[in-house]
């Protein structure tokens, strides 16, 4: 019997039969997350229902030295939840209770399988919402958001998951259940845990901060003949001291795809559209709207539409929100890239992407969070044409190089996962990565929690160097003597 088989045999001590999946056909349902070109059938799948179950499963993994991977809704785009064929996949989607809504303290306590949007839906009537809004918010889980430190279109003004989670109960890679709270003294392990992509343990209970629904929201769609005009408008808006809730931009190819897919009806002839959303007190939003409208006209917008109602706003967002899937209408296959550059470097980087398109004969549709310089180039290719897939991969990688050259990052919100670990050494020195590894070793000395993700080369943690304090554990347990 393999180690994994021995472990699997003992899962029945912890879980009901219907909570453990070993059937090869059913296992294949879990062979990838949102990054579908990386696949691995998990050794065994566990559908957990409580922190205690997860802790017990993780302790078994620790005992047998078997790796484990946590998975929420499986919508991640960097392969962070890619299973291990020799390991356990711990799925949290059955843990979807909202445990507590506490409006006076502006917080809610939820299980990790609760979807992002479900939190907002539960508190909307009471004038509150949960601010981070990744595009997948209807289905993505809050546990996954914590693992990835998810953002969303509105993080320009409101920040990321790490700014809105005030407490986490987690199962450490050694199977302990630990509470992290932003009120407790000590190291900000909460901040270190959020965004660690499942490599420091599994969140089993999450306390989120709720935000007040803004009094007014105005969404503006501005059409430009080319991307340069849109870029000038973004600079001028920021330069005017305005921090919109969101500033999104799409180029001609992305608009074409969105039109083909959802008929969003963006202004004809637009080489770029800008979506600017302003929110806050009425008096502030009215003023900012006037300024944004003036700036867009001055920078060459040929058409401006304004949405004040929820329906009109949805119409403007429809094209933007469907953009990723929409490129499927104009291309048989595509890679969704996620890179970041300082906002002012956007024109240069976009020019660089144009050059790459020409050099490799590969089309790139650009959709981006223009306010914070987060690019989502969609690299289009036809997998039926020999060599095109490889060329698309090359272009996709070169775009990340461009981001790094301009002082940016290889990922703004999708995570490193399995997809980009090889790019980490281009952004960070060996010392940087070794130092991050110290955190990993503190939490997960055996390297069993989502191994092979984030970091390029797994390292052994070894014993903590330095002066040993107290009696050696082997001596203490009577297994060894010191002379």
């Amino acid at each position: 019997m393999s180690t994994l088989q021995r472990l699997t045999a003992r899962l029945s001590e912890i879980l009901d039969q219907d909570s453990v999946i070993t059937d090869p056909v059913r296992l294949r349902t879990y062979d990838c997350d949102g990054l579908t070109y990386h696949r691995a059938t998990p050794g065994v799948v566990v559908l957990a229902e409580s922190a205690e179950q997860i802790a017990a499963v993780v302790r078994l993994c620790d005992e047998y030295g078997v790796p484990f991977v946590a998975r929420g809704s499986g919508t991640g785009l960097s392969g962070g939840a890619l299973p291990r064929t020799d390991g356990v996949l711990i799925v949290t989607s059955r843990m979807r209770r909202i445990l507590e809504i506490d409006i006076p303290n502006r917080r809610a306590v939820v299980e990790p399988g609760v979807t992002n949007l479900a939190i907002t839906e539960a508190v909307r009537d009471q004038g509150h919402y949960y601010a981070p809004d990744p595009s997948s918010q209807q289905i993505c889980s809050i546990g996954g958001n914590v693992a990835e430190n998810s953002g969303g279109a509105h993080c320009l003004k409101y920040g990321f998951t790490v700014n809105h989670v005030v407490g986490v109960e987690l199962v450490t890679p050694q199977g302990e259940i630990v509470e992290l709270s932003d009120r407790d003294p000590g190291y900000d392990l909460l901040g270190a845990f959020i965004g660690s992509e499942g490599t420091l343990g599994i969140a089993t209970k999450i306390t989120v901060r709720l935000s007040r629904t803004p009094e007014a929201v105005t969404t503006v769609l501005a059409a430009f003949t080319g991307i340069e005009g849109g870029g000038r408008a973004v600079s001028a808006i920021i330069g005017a001291g305005i921090v919109p809730a969101a500033i999104e931009m799409m180029d001609a190819l992305a608009i074409e795809a969105a039109e083909a897919a959802v008929h969003c009806g963006y202004p004809e002839g637009a080489g770029a559209v800008l979506v600017v959303e302003l929110d806050g007190p009425h008096a502030e939003v009215d003023h900012q709207f006037a300024a944004v409208e003036r700036i867009c006209r001055e920078t060459g917008a040929f058409e401006i539409r304004v949405a004040a109602s929820a329906e009109e706003r949805a119409a403007i967002w429809k094209g933007r929100k469907s953009a990723f899937a929409a490129v499927g209408r104009i291309s048989p296959a595509y890679i969704v890239q996620d890179g970041v550059v300082p906002r002012t470097a956007l024109p240069e980087v976009l020019a660089g992407i144009d050059r790459l398109q020409e050099e490799f004969g590969i089309r790139v549709a650009n959709v981006f969070h223009a306010g914070d310089g987060n690019l989502h180039p969609l690299v289009l290719f036809d997998d039926a044409v020999p060599g095109q897939g490889e060329r698309a991969e090359t272009v996709s990688g070169r775009i990340l190089d461009l981001c790094i050259e301009h002082g940016g990052s290889i990922t703004g919100e999708h995570g490193v996962g399995v997809d980009k670990s090889r790019y980490m050494p281009r952004m960070f020195s060996e010392e940087d990565l070794d130092t991050m590894q110290l955190v990993r070793c503190a939490f997960d000395p055996k390297g069993l929690s989502n191994p092979g993700k984030v970091f390029p080369t797994p390292r052994l943690c070894g014993e903590v160097p330095g002066v040993r304090r107290g009696v050696h554990p082997l001596v203490e347990s009577g297994a060894a003597e010191q002379f």
Partner: protein, 406 residues
């Protein structure tokens, strides 16, 4: 070679320590004055070779915060790491060396109409000091604290390793966020040498609405109403110089601040006044030498203050409470002349009683005679110890200044 000789040869100015260099009463032997991250690395390599205990310092305004170090051989003074490396106004980002004072940084940023919204309460504090202590000002209610604004950090570990994480873009999830780990770590993991922050535009206009508070319940009720209000105040601060009475001050920022302040005034009642300047106590600590941090849940503010008052009355102490009522993140100061045993009794009793309410009382600055667990209980101490053991295996960085004696 002796430590003296190695320090002299490491390429950085090192001087013998004087009485003014004591850290919470513990006198170091040397003070190093590095000018670059590489200088700090060279100094720390010497410290590692000679088993020297190291305490980093900036302007020294908060150097006595935390328990005294168990030992302190070398003070690493970041005063000469004082350059604003970059202010990319178009990107709303700045990169600075850790020894830059917040005042100097504020001037640089303001010249381009921008600001770092974290504004610690002590004038002259450095960026490094703000990060190491995690202390925050009134705007934490709307914008969070320095940990929420920090987007990149460079640190030097106990063995001299230079490491960075994050970068200079606002949105970035590549790798672990060492900045979070180092913020509020009281110098126990290494020396912070550089930091990058996201910035905000200066407020177009500001108004402060202040009202007297007859009792704690009214403060909690008002803070809750304001926090849940669509008027979006930037800060909600409480000042309570003596048990019972006090003031609530609310900051409204934006082009329409004057108009919104009127609406805030209506909510706060007939006694509320609108001003174009902050009240004199705004953004300052209620005291310096005997200071505690009181954190909790906003809806438990009144109950927490009742606990404070009850034990203050029992022990004949006069606590001055001030801070963010919007986030229930407050400071409590006691007169330096307070009896140390009574202070210890006060801390233990209040700490135990507010814990079930979700509250935490921790030391910030305590005179040596106050015999009490400085930090109190914390969750995850085991994990914290493991982190400390990895980063500083010999426990030479600010030893003993942090939770659990780390």
């Amino acid at each position: 070679m002796s430590a003296d000789a190695d320090l002299a040869a490491c390429g950085t100015t090192v001087r013998p320590a004087g009485d003014g260099d004591a850290v919470a009463g513990v006198l170091p032997r040397w003070v190093a004055l590095p000018e670059t991250t590489e200088d700090v690395s060279a100094v720390l390599r010497v410290a590692a070779a000679h088993d020297l205990a190291v305490v980093p310092t900036g302007a020294g305004t908060m150097l006595d915060w935390g328990p005294p170090p168990g030992r302190c051989d070398l003070l690493v003074d970041t005063c000469c790491l004082n350059e604003v490396l970059e202010h990319a106004a178009g990107d709303l980002v700045t990169r600075v060396q850790a020894g830059v004072t917040l005042g100097a940084l504020g001037e640089t940023l303001a010249s381009q109409g921008q600001r770092l919204v974290a504004e610690p309460p002590l004038a002259g504090s450095t960026v490094g000091g703000m990060l190491a202590t995690g202390v925050a000002g009134p705007l934490r209610f709307r914008y969070g604290t320095s940990r929420d604004l920090l987007i990149g950090i460079t640190v030097v570990l106990a063995d001299g390793t230079i490491a960075k994480s994050g970068g200079k873009v606002v949105k970035n999830v590549a790798g672990y966020d060492l900045g979070k780990l180092f913020t509020g770590s009281y110098g126990t993991l290494g020396v912070i040498t550089e930091a990058a922050f996201r910035l905000h535009p200066l407020a177009a206009d500001s108004r402060w609405v202040t009202a007297p508070l007859p009792e704690a319940e009214r403060g909690q009720e008002l803070a809750a109403t304001l926090a849940a209000s669509v008027l979006e105040p930037a800060a909600i601060e409480l000042d309570r110089p003596v048990p019972g009475g006090g003031m609530l001050a609310v900051l409204v920022e934006g082009v329409a601040a004057a108009e919104r302040a009127k609406a805030v005034q209506d909510l706060m009642g007939v006694d509320a006044e609108i001003g174009e300047e902050p009240p004199s106590w705004w953004g300052r600590l209620p005291g310096e030498d005997l200071l505690l941090s009181l954190r909790g849940l906003p809806a438990a503010l009144a109950a927490t203050l009742r606990v404070v008052d009850a034990h203050a009355a029992r022990l004949a102490l006069t606590p001055h409470v001030r801070g963010s009522a919007g986030t229930d993140d407050l400071h409590v100061a006691l007169p330096t002349s307070s009896d140390p045993d009574r202070v210890a009794g006060f801390v233990s009793a209040v700490r135990d009683e507010i814990r079930p309410l979700g509250g935490r009382l921790t030391g910030v600055a305590l005179p040596p005679g106050v015999a009490v667990d400085f930090w109190g209980e914390t969750g995850a101490l085991g994990l914290m110890r493991r982190v400390k053991d990895r980063f500083d295996p010999d426990h030479r960085m600010s030893p003993g200044r942090f939770v659990g004696g780390l």
